[in-house]
Amino acid sequence: MSTHFKIEGLKAAIEGKEILKGINIEIKGGEIHAIMGPNGTGKSTLASAIMGHPKYEVTSGTAHLNGEDVLEMEVDERARAGMFLAMQYPSEIAGVTNSDFLRSAINARREEGSEISLIKFIRQMESKMKELEMNPEFAHRYLNEGFSGGEKKRNEILQMMMLDPKIVILDEIDSGLDIDALRIVADGVNSMRSEDRGFLIITHYQRLLNYITPDYVHVMMQGRIVKSGGPELAQRLEAEGYDWVKEELGIVDETVGQA
């Protein structure tokens, strides 16, 4: 079955304050969707709410992945169903090595008794790390501890490549990356493009989209998708900024839930 992910009427709140005010997106396998918008418009909240961050409360709506509502699942079940979120600020976990962590994540998807062999795992990890031009020693470093911003982002992409998800959400994966790292990360994402996989790329710069060409671009303001289009929309936003969108829609303050 080819991948189909559909978010309908998603509303979410943090500490009682509504941030998402009804989001609708449909992503099919093979498609890349980009969500753009200025800071504070609810983009990262969308990513966190879909993945199930404990701070965010979904107040209504559904998010069906191949017919199953992931919003009804625990966070780990969502991941095992095929969801993957490359986080803007990945946690650092002392004492747990990157490779132990990744092996646990892979084995969590397998039946007891059919765990991935150590040799096979190491080979896979080494080859993916090479693709991402990561120092092999990062396999034995504690998870994200002492990693630079760029190293953390590459590590997120490494996890994506190892876990082979159906729906990938990249939350500001381009922030904190220099131009070389950006290209490496984009190459990693492009190598994962397939008919079975859909992408949702959240960014507020167009530059990432120079490397990863989206099929659809959505502009988010005030906790809603206010405009959708093709790749040309991203180019116009890069050239002219967001003011013309605000003007067109009569929006004065594009942010949501800001104190």
Partner: protein, 438 residues
Amino acid sequence: MTHMSTQLSTPVSRQIVESLSQNKQEPAWLTELRAEAADQSETLEWPKPEKVRIDRWNLGALGVYKAQKEASLAELPEEVQAILPEDTAGTLLVQRNSGAVYRQLSDELKAKGVIFTDLETAAREHADLVKQYLFTAIPKDENKLTATHAALWNGGVFIYVPKNVEVEIPLQAILFQDDAEASFAPHILLVADQFSKVTYVDYVVSGSEGKSAPAVHHSAAEVIVKAGAKVTFATVHHLADNVIDLSLRRAVVDNDASIEWIIGDLHDGNLLSDTKSVLNGNGSTSDAKVISIGTHSQNMSITTQAVHWGRSSDSQMVTRAVMRDQATAIINGITKIEKGATKANGEQTERVLMLSPKARGDANPILLIDEDDVTAGHAASVGQVNAEQIYYLMSRGISKAEAERLIIYGFLAPVVSDIPLEAVRNQLNRLIEGKLGS
């Protein structure tokens, strides 16, 4: 049974101690030392560790001395078999309840003049050495606990490493208890002569029997580290929850000598664990690593201390504890730098990870500094498992239980992975798994 309880309530008296010592044919000086300690124990007070009232614990259950027969390794109970070193290199000592049942020292080490036997035997066969050092690092009249222990200790371990001798393999001992009514009170005396080097490892555990009645394990370890010598002392405690574990350890460290402590307090019952390095020598060093896991309604007092007298002496202490259920731990780190100990450096860190809202953990770092020209530092923290970290791990498909397990292991890993002895690391991991899985 009334007869037994009468004995238990007044276990220490000059008369009992003297007659026991004579029955065992101990040398007169030792009988006298025990008798004097018995007198002292009647008037001295129990130690008063910070925020833990050990005087409210059932400290009367000291048990009665029961003579032990020699045993072969195959005769030891299953729990002990599980921790038997794979390769003892012909060197192992086993104490069961009140006395040693197995002792072996390789011919190679004998030829080098190394002594490794139970302390009772050593007191008869190497009286000059034992008499010279016994109860010098831990004075018997320090408090009621030290006096009681001096009066009643049994079995034990004696290690002497001659000048310039380096012992390559760890000298290992298993001290186990499987009879709650028998007194179990090993005393460890380790003397490392000048420029010698030795590693001692012991496992203090319960057998499958004798878990019903309350019992007290009191032990003391005295480590004499002469100039230029290097001692690694690793000890792993995992007694059953009917046992109160009272364990004192003290090293006296001479010029350019060093002591390394590795302590796994994985006991299931109430615990008083106090480990102290007295850095007398210039350039002497102490490094202490302590890990602990508290479960159920355990009450624990864990103290690590360094006292600096020597110039340019250095002490490092790291304690990490995980607290579950309703367990309580008071963790003290005391760095004392005396006047004249110039250029001394003392660093300590205590960290507690709480897994339950009902658990309690206090970390008390204490620096007492009477000299200006020194450096010292401390860090302490008590925290819950971080919800953001759990979310991150779960977002990769890892279950909540497994995510917690990874974080707990990760919390202890910086101490465990630093332990230079693989066998000890493996035993610690096995016991940690057991305590976290129960």
